[in-house]
Amino acid sequence: MTTLVDGGGPQSRKEAAAAEFRNFLAFARRRPGFIFGLCVVVVTVFLAICGPYIAPYHPERALPGAGLQPPSGQHWMGTDVSGMDVFSRVISAPRIDLAIALSATLIAFVGGVLLGVVSGFYAGARGIPRVASEAIMRGADILQAFPVFIFALALVGFRGPGTENVIVALAFLNIPYFLRVTRGAVFQVRERPFIEAARCAGNKEVRIAFVHVMPNALGPALANVSPGIGFAILLTAALSFVGAGVPKPTPEWGSMISIGAPNMMTGQWWTALFPGLALGITVLGYALVGDGIRDYMDPVNRR
């Protein structure tokens, strides 16, 4: 039996990886926005894991008689109307926000890519595959014909509020984006010579679609993951703001803003401002990371 060991010189492969990493650092150094975005991602992920443990107060426990206190040394971001510490809640919120956004985006990514490969690979074919390809696209058209937020609201309204239903609604809404970018990439990849070579070698169409076309068509969808997460966080907050998302009192930026909104009028600006800032910075950060990754993958924009 022949033993298989690493080919192409493990040394050279390791060196190539190191060179790629240096390239990446040099690229990031020229882009403060990208670095800012990366920091936001790192911080939110860290808070999603540790937020509730490092919070100075319990994020869901009201302190009796301590409602609507302004920011102070004791309560850095003040307390809200029921006496919960705003700072503790702001840093605990990424757990639920990120969990929802990540899982929804992941589902949308997988679903969108699979459907995109099918619809792109079989576009222009004959018979059932073509019908499937067209049906997928028309489905996406219908989904995208509705205003995003109204549609999410309707979905949650249909299934009732709750974390899983928010995930389902967001995943559903995001599928067409991943589907379309993947379909476009598939159109290019399926014309490349190695696809025909694979066909000539007697590979089955399904195998060609998923082994040869799909991995080479993942780039655009991958570049959309990060902004997709940002968008999902924003939508989660929006749904919670109108009471169709995460039930209170779970710490979540959108529901915190909605709790704090009435107090804004009466001068207690801190209850809504801080969660709002956190939300804005996070969405911006994820979008910037997405832009950076897209530029990094495009050789022309690397400089």
Binding site: M1, T2, T3, L4, V5, D6, G7, G8, S12, R13, G124, R192, P193, F194, E196, A197, A198, R199, C200, A201, G202, N203, K204, E205, R207, V211, H212, P215, N216
Partner: protein, 326 residues
């Protein structure tokens, strides 16, 4: 002898919204078992389209209008996709130009070889990988047990072509269609690749259809030569006869150009014109130095000059004997 492959009056066009462009205008060609035949002709003559038509790989907007392709007693153009899958790669294999583009950049070459092997044999992935190592060894790749784990970008162009050849020959096909196997390779590597291909084809007793623009390569590796021009075979004959007494003015022109080893500007300038004129009369008339009135009025058939040597030219006899300067 019953030919292995018989292409009979195949007509293929490229359908555009503004109308169809005829690309193959009635190609007739046969390949005997075990023989090597060279297809030569300029860019746009239809060489690659012919190869793809044989494998029935053309999809929309390409359209096969008429003709028959018989391979081993079966009509390839009438086959369903699943039947074709049993022929492609097993009985007829193809190598296309630019080897690096023939390989999936994200899959290790050993895996790609194994895919091809497992597509037609019920064996495990591990066994297929071992066969892949052997296949790489047979095409002269050093350290094949290391190379199966390489990605295409880690191999040179010549190495990639060897991998592609290994893939094409992994089921000992009866016919190997080699479309410009040396395009993009430098001369010494090209020589090695062609020698290897010829040797393996001989070993398996396969037939070889070598598509090339290089008259020298074809002369060296093929027993017969077919010249394509504007979607037709304009001349076909034994290599020695052909190189000694080419009977079509275009063949003469090609040979002269090859000998002069330089680009003929006139040829390049006249290509489009020639295609436009292909509708009536001999397609080569606009460029032909010995054209007569009949050439513009009707298309000559592929008729014999002598045994086994035929040309599509009214003046084939005179040209072959060198009585007119074509």
């Amino acid at each position: 002898m019953e030919p292995l492959l018989a292409v009979d009056d195949v007509r293929v066009s490229f359908e555009k919204e503004s109308g169809a462009v005829a690309v193959l205008n009635g190609v007739d060609l046969s390949v005997q078992p075990g023989e090597s035949i060279g297809i030569v002709g300029e860019s746009g003559a239809g060489k690659t389209v012919l190869v793809r038509t044989i494998l029935n790989l053309l999809q929309e907007p390409w359209k096969v209008h008429q003709g028959q392709i018989r391979f081993d007693g079966e009509d390839l153009l009438a086959k369903q996709e699943e039947e074709l899958r049993q022929i492609r790669g097993v009985k007829i294999a193809l190598t296309s130009p630019e080897p690096r583009k023939q390989l999936n950049p994200l899959v290790r070459v050993g895996e790609q070889l194994a895919h091809g092997i497992r597509a037609h044999r019920k064996i495990t992935r591990k066994e297929a990988l071992e066969l892949a190592v052997e296949a790489l060894e047979s095409v002269g790749i050093p350290d094949p047990h290391l190379r199966v784990r390489s990605y295409p970008h880690e191999l040179s162009g010549g190495m990639c072509q060897r991998v592609v050849i290994a893939m094409a020959l992994s089921h000992s096909p009866k016919l190997l269609l080699a479309d410009e196997p040396t395009a993009g390779l430098d001369v010494t590597i090209a020589r090695q690749i062609l020698d290897l291909m010829a040797e393996l084809v001989h070993e398996f007793g396969s037939s070889l259809m070598l598509v090339s623009r290089d008259m020298g390569v074809v002369a060296h590796y093929c027993q017969r030569v077919a010249v394509m021009y504007a979607g037709q075979i304009v001349e076909v004959g034994e290599t020695e006869v052909f190189y000694g007494a080419a009977a079509h003015p275009y063949s003469r022109h090609l040979l002269r150009a090859a000998r002069a080893a330089r680009d003929d500007r006139r040829a390049a300038a006249a290509t489009v014109e020639a295609r436009a004129a292909a509708a009536h009369g001999c397609a080569y008339t606009p460029r032909c130095p010995v054209a007569i009135t009949a050439c513009e009025q009707s298309t000559p058939a592929l008729e014999p000059v002598e045994d086994g040597h035929a040309a599509r030219c009214f003046r084939r006899g005179e040209v072959a004997r060198g009585e007119v300067q074509a």
